[in-house]
Symmetry: C2
Subunit: 207 residues, 2 copies
């Protein structure tokens, strides 16, 4: 759905200008500015410069546009996290830290897109399912990393699932306040959150 190339292992810290097809690009802007409910299909068509029927040719409805955007965003993030984890080699702490870094870089470099996640609650259960399944994959990747560290004796958690949920919630919330023209670079934010995330998973030795 996106023109974004798959991420190579060496490039997971590189964030190029995001390129979507025109409908998704304009939809991202419109939903971010006016919210899902504040954007009509007519608005979208006008922004894209097509007719309403032309828009419906590509997407069943407005929900489908939002879900496609959100789903593409998480798929893209998962690609990046997997590349980051692979780049961490065999060290559970490096693998986990890289994953956290990839998520924070995503939330900062892609703050507008990541912030869209909050519009999800306006989407019907049916249409939310694909996205929920993709989002679940990200949770499972993080859960594996936490368990891997626990088995290696470098992490110590009481409840790995709740820990991952809490941590992802914390990282997701970065998109709500971060501004690229603000005082902190994405790398600086990442550094701070890696420390906090390592604390959450009980990596006392490193922090």
């Amino acid at each position: 759905m996106t023109a974004q190339p798959e991420i190579k292992a060496a490039d997971w810290r590189v964030f190029e200008q995001l390129r979507y097809d025109p409908i998704l690009e304009h939809a991202l802007e419109a939903f971010s500015e006016n919210g899902f409910h504040g954007t009509t299909v007519r608005d979208l068509a006008r922004r894209v410069g097509v007719t309403v029927p032309a828009l419906y040719y590509h997407f069943e409805n407005k929900e489908a546009v939002l879900v496609t955007l959100l789903d593409a965003a998480v798929l893209d993030l998962i690609d990046r996290v997997l590349a980051a984890v692979a780049d961490g080699g065999a060290d559970p702490v490096a693998r986990f830290s890289n994953a956290v870094e990839a998520i924070v870089l995503n939330m900062t470099f892609r703050a507008m897109r990541s912030g869209l996640d909050s519009e999800l609650r306006h989407v019907s259960f049916e249409n939310r399912r694909t996205y929920a399944a993709t989002r679940k994959r990200l949770e499972l990747i993080m859960l594996d990393l936490v368990r891997e560290g626990a088995e290696a004796g470098v992490f110590d958690v009481d409840d790995a699932e709740e820990t991952v949920r809490a941590m992802l919630g914390m990282l997701q919330s970065i998109a709500r306040w971060y501004q690229l023209d603000g005082p902190l670079t994405p790398a600086q934010v990442a550094d701070r959150y890696i420390v906090i995330a390592l604390r959450i998973v009980g990596n006392h030795a490193t922090t």
Copy 2:
């Protein structure tokens, strides 16, 4: 603005049915169901059962309604947190843990209201100011608690401000997934997040 009584020190764990004046009560429902942009002043007036001019008599515009709701929610939360902290006596760990518990109970018992926070990004900078100032008070209360613990030698943080921001982001995100009819009670969620929050502030001894 709300009929909610001030919270007594002993009652900070008690969450009665929330009572607002009719305009705010219906606005909370409408904004939660359809988003800020998806709700018109006409919708609001119809739900409340008044005319549009009557609504404008009470609120300057739709943004003022949302900001009033959000501001009342944080003021209420601050009352609760202060009562919880006082209830923790002189022990920095108990004071901090109580504050986290109060926030989690608020995010779970008041999930709909707390979730409204994500609509804030649709509000103009000007109208957001009062809310931002109130929200800042909550951050400063938490910051004091973290510093108090650090001075007492029971907490250990690198960057107290970022730690508080990350922790509040984590706690805020609970409102996005929590459902009162789900498998976890608010008290159970609170127990888990107290453990995680204590880790974040480097309270190795207790966790």
